[in-house]
């Protein structure tokens, strides 16, 4: 039974992709081949196209001010999307990231007046990571669907944010926190540099570290990974811890940016982050996706919002635009991967 299905599918697939059949192709064909196989390249091209179109439509788009604005807007979404990428790579999903941003921002707000900013930031990060750990442990050892567990955590996190803050906003954010978003190095905003550094670390981890490859293996075939001796429980939990931690990092930048802490903070980030990861070419079934793809996904979403603003399109249209892009991105991925895409 199995022999026939395997041989058949292998035959049709070699027919489609022929990885080593034509080593000497003409340049355009080779470029196309590269585009079809390298998702990072495809993303870069997409960004360039989007930028080109937007700069044609609005002369204001390519101005320094607007580009700084775009960078600024991508930091918070980018931080959350990085954690979401790891979770989606193992075939999971984290719906609680927005709520965790909210509750860890409140932790920051409650502690900085007495303990000072550095300790308060640590407490903020620790609370995000700890709630992520709770997610990971319950999902991994309780064998409960990540959707359910993180949906519960989303509700708990948001509720805790209201309880802890008494539903009040916290103001008087110290300058040292504000400096995170106002300072710049060589003209590049400090918060954007942080984003790039975090993504660089993420890329190195996913490409060159055992843990990173383990995440891919878990999402692709957890049973095979287990038999090969990989620590699938440890790394699955780690993915959720990182997602919680990155939500808290986003909370710090959010506080620094809007100079106020509100229990509603971070709302909608869960869907934005999932959208960025999916636009970036990841499969919701796990095993496929890339950190650079996610970053590109974040940029594309910010560009579209920014572009629509510049064109004075009603903000109510933004959802339609982003939604269409999500669906189009998955369709394109499926076409390019020869029907293999599973998302």
């Amino acid at each position: 039974m199995s022999e026939t299905t395997e041989t058949r599918s292998s035959e049709t697939r070699t027919g489609e992709t022929k990885p080593d059949a034509a080593p000497r192709r003409r340049l355009p064909a080779r470029l196309l081949h590269l585009l079809a196989t390298q998702i990072e390249l495809r993303m870069l091209l997409l960004i360039i196209v989007v930028m080109a179109v937007l700069s044609r439509i609005s002369p204001y788009f390519l101005t320094t001010n607007n580009l700084l604005n775009v960078m600024d807007q991508s930091v918070i979404a980018g931080m959350v999307a990085l954690g979401q990428t790891l979770v989606i790579l193992i075939g999971g999903i984290d719906l609680s990231v927005g709520a965790l941003t909210g509750v860890s921002a409140i932790m920051l707000g409650l502690t900085f007046p007495k303990l000072g900013v550095p300790v308060a930031v640590l407490i903020c990060l620790a609370s995000g990571g700890a709630l992520g750990l709770v997610n990971g442990v319950i999902i991994t050892f309780g064998r409960i669907a990540p959707f359910v567990v993180t949906l519960g955590m989303m509700s708990i996190g948001r509720s805790m944010a209201y309880v802890l803050s008494g539903a009040n906003s916290i103001g008087n954010i110290p300058d040292s926190l504000a400096a995170l978003t106002t300072d710049s190095v060589f003209g590049i905003p400090l918060d954007f540099l942080c984003l790039i550094v975090v993504y660089a670390i993420g890329w190195v981890f996913l490409t060159f570290a055992k843990g990173g490859r383990t995440l891919y293996a878990i999402g692709s075939n957890a049973e095979a990974a287990r038999i090969a001796g990989l620590s699938i429980n440890l790394w699955s939990i780690t993915a959720y811890v990182v997602a919680g931690l990155m939500s808290a990092v986003a909370a710090v930048f959010l506080t620094s940016k809007i100079l106020s802490i509100d229990p509603i903070g971070g709302s909608g980030e869960e869907l934005d982050s999932i959208a960025a990861v999916v636009i970036g070419g990841a499969s919701l079934f796990g095993g496929r996706g890339s950190i650079i793809g996610t970053l590109a996904g974040v940029f594309i979403m910010v560009f579209i919002r920014n572009g629509l603003n510049l064109l004075n399109v009603s903000p109510y249209w933004q959802g339609t635009a982003i939604g269409s892009i999500i669906i189009a991105a998955v369709l394109v991925e499926r076409l390019l991967s020869g029907g293999r895409s599973r998302a």
Binding site: S2, K210, N221, A224, A225, R288
Partner: protein, 640 residues
Amino acid sequence: MSLLALTEIWKRFGATTALAGARFTLGAGEVHALVGANGAGKSTLSRVISGQLQPDSGSIVLDGKTMRFAGARDAIRAGIAMVTQETSLAPDLSVLENIMLPRLGMPGRLDWGAMRREARHLVTRLGAEAGIAIGARVRDLTIGQRQIVEILKALALDSRIIIFDEPTAPLSPHETERLFDMIRNLAATLHGIVFVSHRLEEIFALSDRVTVLREGRVAADAVPTRELTQGELIRLMVGRELSDIYARAERGTTAPVGTSLGTPLGTPLGAPVLRVSHLSAPPRVRDVSFTVHAGEILGLAGLVGAGRSETLETIFGLRPARGGTIELDGRPFTPATPREAIRKGIGLIPEDRRGQGTVPDFSVRENLLLAHLGAHRGPGLAYRLRDAAVRRLLALLGLPEQRLLDANLLTFSGGMQQKVILARWLVLSPRLLLLDEPTRGVDIATRSSIYALLRRIAAEGVASVVVSSDFEEVIGLADRIVVLSDGVDVTSIPSALVDIEKLGMFAAPRSSAERTHTVLEGLVARHGGRAFWISVEHGRVFCFDCVGTDAEADPGFAGGSFPEIAATRIQEALARKAPGFVTEPRNGLTTLLVPIHGRRGHDLGMVGLTLARATHAPDGAALARAITADLETETEREAA
């Protein structure tokens, strides 16, 4: 006129020819067995019949009309249904809803009352009243009951031809018997039954005619089953080509053979690497003991469900052991995770290559280095460390080096994938390899090279344990075979001493072993002494079962042992094989031997009774008749 006739069926998958001019005919009211070794093409042919595969050429004639099925749906509409091991039922719906599922999609109001009546009628027609409640949820049914629902579903569609693809693999003995009764009922109502199997016992118990496939060709074309013996059928299935592929020539088949009772014969090849004693891991593994030596290939044979895979998984840390001990190089070893086992030099090639072996999103190189990654200490990948080993292995396996960078392992043939997964472990230079059905879904040529590779690493001192459902393969490949039956090891025997028939009897064929055991117990209860079931061949006794505790009446063998006749205590009786009690001149034991036969007359060895003193012996001829009659009553009682 035949119901269905396939002629000159060709089917190729890439470079592999799965069917090369196969023929198959099926008459109404017939159970036709489709037989062949792994990779012979029987599954491909049954999928052609059921419309799941389209042949490259050839004709399918159903009821005198030439058919061309575009898919399984066409075949179902034409009245051909297939019942497979993995059922296609909706687990949350009731039995009734599943049976009538095709009707739920039709427009108009559903007449539940009529559907219920119809379903009950089908259940009666199948003779499955005892087994199935039509209101039950399918999720709550056993695998055997689900199969019945599949059959009912086929009947509800007015299928006239039903294909059973290895239906008994997951079934208990009782369920198997019940299934066979239903299949006979179906044949009696003029259904045509295609029975795909490689289990000889079942073929002889059930089928009217046999078609044997070998490498896509018909080796026996619709031969009446009663004209065949097991030996002939095996020869037809295996052929000369296959028996040559095991590459055991360098070891020779006439290894020096010891005579000690119950211990492995032949010269041990090296120090013991793995010693398993009284291992239990419920529910499947109950009491398993065996030892593997360096440089030895040990076969773990038995039926599906005997606990073979589970034994390997327990040794590998995938499944907790409840009792017993595992020793690795003489030191106790209780792995909690595969990683611990891997770091001690153990590798596992799992049964389900797609589900447990390949990582589809990884390149071939990363798939090959997956176990390296698991074994590696440190945060990085250190793939480079293995470059030299990888290159050496690729050459050994005949894999071109540039294919290493292929993005997807699934573009490889099943055989190539299996080679890569083998290489995944060989890269780590393991000391013990556990292989679960290593050649399933692998073409003959690759099988041969996998065998050669296993031989080669054995020569380098690696110990291997190979689980295989293919008795032919176990005998050809392994140096020694441990047979498991119901989670207990029943014998450990050099492969040079057994053949497929005897291995089958050790593995306790469900329909015969139980009733023989009942008869043996009855003999001892009435007459005392020792009662046993044996087969005598090449000057050796193979004892499949032995009952009784009378030390004085010890015949010189026990269940699972296989001494030479000269080493037993009842040489005279075994040499003469005369009817009636034979008394030994040397020790005064007196023995009655009664040849027994299967339902279709094939040889099933002998049942014997040894008593300590001739004076107490009852009338031999009468007892022999009684034993034969007892065996028949047991058979009938089971069939009823």
